[in-house]
Symmetry: C2
Subunit: 209 residues, 2 copies
């Protein structure tokens, strides 16, 4: 539980997250304190499993999650990672209240703050600020997804790995090879080759100076 | 111009679009009429080209657009289609006011209603309803993108084509083979084979009855 003690007070972290957009007033802050609940998740613990309805929207306080699908050959396909300060949910399942085809699993011990769909709707209906802040959160996620789709359809594996390094510098050394490979849509073996090539090039540059 | 005459009054179509979410009052409707401007686009005309900043958010009144990137081998990669009732923009470029790496081109003669970034911000700041409606528009786009990423990374070309048929029944016979192939991340030849196989199966079923 050492992990937990080192973490900044979770609710403060969430309020700071909103501060980036439009800071909440005292009343709105109290509603956040009332409606978000804390959950501690062990490594390999699930926030969501295939067939369940995704009942909550999660704000990651610490640790890291992967959201993935399992195909008919039992292979995992990583859709998204979420670490400190990120929001994660299966939107399709959350908004339509339909069974999910995805899993959300902790790849490290983690703490999240979660809000139920009905409580989020309550915030939207009663406080304009949440409509606005979540509009911006959605826009940012949309930009991330647009980038992801474009990389998937128009670049090779080396370029996708470079983009991953730029986008997730804080995750690159925290995630095992097979998780990143699954996100990039390649095999672990192929990713190892790419990483070796990238490190050889870096060493080459060092040798030249 | 026959195309234009047959179209429902564009602004009414836009107001109807908002009606699905939270209908606008008279004041809000007048702001929409004031701030959205109509644009007629010829087939193969561009709303956006690589290197330009995406200055507008577009609501498609009629016709159809593709948003795509061109790679270093001059190959097109389709990110998204948008037909009647859809919204389209390069979000990355629109929100950050940075040069786009994408093109938005009309694949049919089209009419759009466009709003500039600063005018959309004006609506957000002055009328709560737009924050709310665009939050929902963003959520829907996000679900579509999440689905798209999942299909890209976890299914084969046949499954992606079936999903495309289900998601875009109104587009399947309007788009040339090479456009759909580019969206699915496969060659036109491979798509022709898939379409032939699908049609043979359908014929087979008919023969049995």
């Amino acid at each position: 539980m050492e992990h937990v003690q080192h973490t900044k007070q979770p609710l403060l972290m969430l309020l700071d997250n909103f501060k980036q957009f439009f800071p909440l007033d005292t009343n709105e802050q109290n509603e956040v304190k009332r409606l978000f609940t804390q959950r501690i998740v062990k490594r390999k613990g699930f926030l969501l499993q295939e067939g369940e309805v995704c009942r909550n929207y999660y704000f990651v306080v610490s640790g890291c999650f992967k959201m993935f699908a399992i195909d008919t050959n039992f292979r995992e396909h990583n859709l998204q990672f979420a670490a400190e300060g990120d929001w994660i949910a299966d939107f399709q399942s959350f908004y339509n209240e339909e069974p999910s085809s995805l899993y959300i699993e902790a790849v490290e011990p983690a703490i999240v703050l979660q809000i139920q769909h009905k409580d989020l709707l309550y915030l939207y209906i009663n406080y304009h600020k949440f409509d606005r802040n979540f509009r911006i959160i959605m826009e940012q996620k949309l930009m991330e997804y647009q980038k992801r789709i474009l990389l998937n359809i128009s670049t090779n594996a080396d370029e996708r790995y470079s983009a991953f390094q730029r986008q997730y510098p804080h995750l690159i050394n925290r995630l095992p090879n097979n998780q990143i490979a699954s996100y990039l849509g390649i095999t672990s073996e192929f990713l190892s080759k790419i990483r070796k090539k990238a490190s050889d090039i870096k060493e080459g540059f060092k040798g030249e100076t």
